[in-house]
C-alpha cells in the first residue's frame, strides 16, 4: 500500500484555512453593503469578523504539528521562495491571520475592549498602548483583507495544483474549486451560527443574504467540478487514469454521494427552494430554521470532504503504474 505523506491534519488545516477565508470575505462584504446609507447586514459583519481568525489560527497550529520537526517552523519565515507555493502560502497565511485578528478587534464594542484590557497587568504599558478604537477603520481593514482572504482561499488549491507529479491535482481548476468551496463554507458557517442562536433569532434579511451567497458560490463550485471531470476525461492518459480514483476507484462513493450529492446538490436544492417563493412570486423571504441548519451543516461537511478526497486521492495518483499507485 502506498504511504500517505499528508494525512488528516492537512485535510483539517486546508478546510479551516478556507473556512476563515470564507468567513472574512462574507463579513467584509456585509460590512460594505448599505441600504439607505446604513449598514445593511451589521450582524453578519460583526459575527463574521469575530469568527474569522479562529479557524485559520487553529489550522495553522495543526499544520505546524504535522511537520517532522515542528519547532523548526520558524525556518519557513527565514526564507522567501517565490517558486514554492508553501513558502508563499506561509507568508500569506500569517498576514491574513494577523489581519483577521486585528479586524475582529476592530469589531469589539468599547465595553468588551475595556474588559479585555482590564485583565492585562497595568505594568505592561506596551500592551495597553494597543487599547485603541479601530472601529473607524473597519472598511479599510476589510479592503486590505479581501485580497488576502481570496489569496488564502486560492492558495490551499494551488498548494496541491502546483505539484506536476500528481495528475489528479495538476490542473488549473483545483485552485478555483477550493476558493469557491471556501467562500461557500464561510457563508454556510455564518448561516449555521445565526440559525443556532436561539436567544436572538436571526433576521430574515440576514438569512436571505447568506443563503443567496451560498447559492452563488455552490453554483460556481459546480461549474468548476463539471469541467474538471470533463477536461480530465479528455486529457492525457495519466490524468484520465488518475480520475478513475473517483470514477470507480476507492473514492467514488465519497465523491459522488457524500460530497457532490449530500455536500453540494442537496443543500443547493434546499437553499433554492427557500429562495424560490421570494424570487418567483415576490413573496417575502421566510427561511426555515431547521432547513437552514441542515443546508449549512451539509455544505460544511461537503467542504471538508472535498479536501479529504483531494488530499488522499491526489497522493495516490501518479504518472507511473497506470496513473494510480497501489
Amino acid at each position: 500500500m502506498h504511504e500517505f505523506n499528508w494525512g488528516l491534519l492537512i485535510v483539517v488545516y486546508l478546510f479551516l484555512g478556507g473556512l476563515s477565508a470564507g468567513l472574512f470575505f462574507a463579513a467584509g462584504l456585509a460590512n460594505y453593503l448599505e441600504v439607505d446609507g446604513r449598514p445593511a447586514y451589521p450582524r453578519i459583519a460583526q459575527v463574521g469578523a469575530w469568527l474569522a481568525p479562529w479557524p485559520v489560527a487553529l489550522g495553522s497550529g495543526l499544520l505546524i504539528l504535522d511537520l517532522g520537526n515542528w519547532y523548526r517552523f520558524y525556518k519557513l519565515f527565514m526564507h522567501f521562495r517565490w517558486e514554492s507555493p508553501m513558502s508563499i502560502g506561509s507568508w500569506l497565511l500569517t498576514l491574513f491571520t494577523v489581519l483577521a485578528f486585528v479586524y475582529a478587534f476592530a469589531w469589539l464594542p468599547e465595553a468588551g475592549r475595556q474588559k479585555l484590557f482590564s485583565k492585562v497587568p497595568p505594568a505592561w504599558k506596551l500592551v495597553h498602548r494597543l487599547n485603541v478604537d479601530l472601529s473607524a477603520h473597519r472598511k479599510t481593514l476589510a479592503m486590505i483583507g479581501f485580497p488576502l482572504s481570496i489569496g488564502v482561499g486560492i492558495y490551499t488549491g494551488v498548494l496541491l495544483g502546483a505539484v506536476s507529479a500528481r495528475p489528479f491535482w495538476n490542473t488549473n481548476l483545483v485552485a478555483q474549486m477550493f476558493l469557491f468551496s471556501a467562500l461557500s463554507s464561510g457563508a454556510a458557517a455564518l448561516l449555521l451560527v445565526l440559525a443556532l442562536d436561539k436567544k436572538r433569532p436571526a433576521d430574515q434579511r440576514d438569512l436571505k443574504f447568506l443563503v443567496w451567497m451560498d447559492v452563488i458560490f455552490i453554483s460556481l463550485e459546480l461549474f468548476i467540478i463539471l469541467p474538471y471531470l470533463i477536461h480530465g476525461q479528455l486529457s492525457v492518459l495519466a490524468v484520465k487514469q488518475a480520475l478513475t480514483l473517483i470514477l470507480g476507484g476507492p473514492y467514488t462513493l465519497v465523491f459522488w454521494v457524500f460530497f457532490l450529492g449530500l455536500g453540494l446538490l442537496v443543500p443547493l436544492g434546499i437553499e433554492i427552494s427557500e429562495l424560490a417563493p421570494s424570487l418567483l412570486k415576490g413573496q417575502p423571504f421566510h427561511g426555515d430554521r431547521r432547513l437552514a441548519l441542515t443546508a449549512s451543516g451539509l455544505v460544511l461537511m461537503g467542504g471538508f470532504l472535498l479536501r479529504y478526497i483531494f488530499v488522499y486521492a491526489g497522493q495516490l495518483s501518479s504518472f507511473r503504474q497506470a496513473g494510480v499507485l497501489q
Binding site: N69, M86, A162
Partner: protein, 183 residues
C-alpha cells in the same frame, strides 16, 4: 576540474540486472540508511504466466533531475541542487513538511521518523568528492550501472549515450531526469 563544468549522471543497462540487490545493500551500508527506508530499489515487471513467464528488472533511485520539482517546492531551501547536478537535502534546514516527497514523480524520497527529516540518494557525493564512484555502482557484480560526467567527452557514459539508444523515465513531467536507461 571546476565543479561548474561537471554534470554527473548514471547510465543503467537494466538487461544486465539479475536482481541480486547488492546495490541496495551497499547503499544502506555506505550511507547508514535506517531499516525500513531505501535510497535505491529494483522494479520488477512480470509479464505472462508460468511457464511463459518473463520478468524484467530495473534498478531505480533518485534521478538527480535537471529541473528537480522537489527543489522547486521546498519552502525553506533545504532541498537543493549542487552545480554538478546532485540533488541533496540539507537536514538542518528540513522542517519535515514532506512537500518534496509528494512533488517527486519517482517517489525517490523517504521520511525518517527518528530525525523528522526527509532522506534521499546523494549519489554518494561524499565519495565522488574524493574521486571515488557511488557505492551502488562500485558493488554491482553485473556492471549494470555506469557513473560518469556528461560534460567529460572521454567518459564511459558519454560514449554509451552517444552510441546506444536509451530512454529516461516520465520525461513528460518536465523534470529532466538524469538516469539514462539503455534500450
Amino acid at each position: 576540474m571546476d565543479i561548474r563544468k561537471r554534470r554527473y549522471a548514471l547510465v543503467i543497462d537494466s538487461r544486465k540486472c539479475i536482481n541480486c540487490k547488492a546495490c541496495a545493500v551497499a547503499c544502506k551500508a555506505e550511507n547508514e540508511v535506517a531499516v525500513g527506508n531505501t535510497r535505491n530499489w529494483i522494479n520488477e515487471d512480470r509479464q505472462g504466466e508460468y511457464p511463459k513467464l518473463r520478468i524484467d528488472f530495473e534498478p531505480e533511485q533518485c534521478h538527480h533531475c535537471e529541473h528537480p520539482s522537489c527543489v522547486r517546492v521546498c519552502p525553506t531551501g533545504a532541498s537543493w541542487q549542487r552545480k554538478d547536478g546532485i540533488v541533496l537535502v540539507a537536514a538542518d534546514d528540513c522542517i519535515g513538511c514532506r512537500y518534496c516527497m509528494i512533488a517527486c514523480p519517482y517517489d525517490a524520497r523517504y521520511f525518517q521518523e527518528e530525525t523528522g527529516t526527509v532522506g534521499k540518494c546523494t549519489l554518494c557525493s561524499h565519495r565522488i568528492d574524493k574521486g571515488n564512484i557511488p557505492a551502488c555502482v562500485e558493488t554491482c557484480p553485473s556492471k549494470v550501472r555506469v557513473f560518469g560526467d556528461l560534460e567529460d567527452p572521454t567518459s564511459r557514459i558519454h560514449e554509451l549515450l552517444a552510441t546506444r539508444r536509451y530512454h529516461v523515465k516520465e520525461p513528460q513531467t518536465g523534470n529532466g531526469p538524469q538516469l539514462y536507461y539503455l534500450l
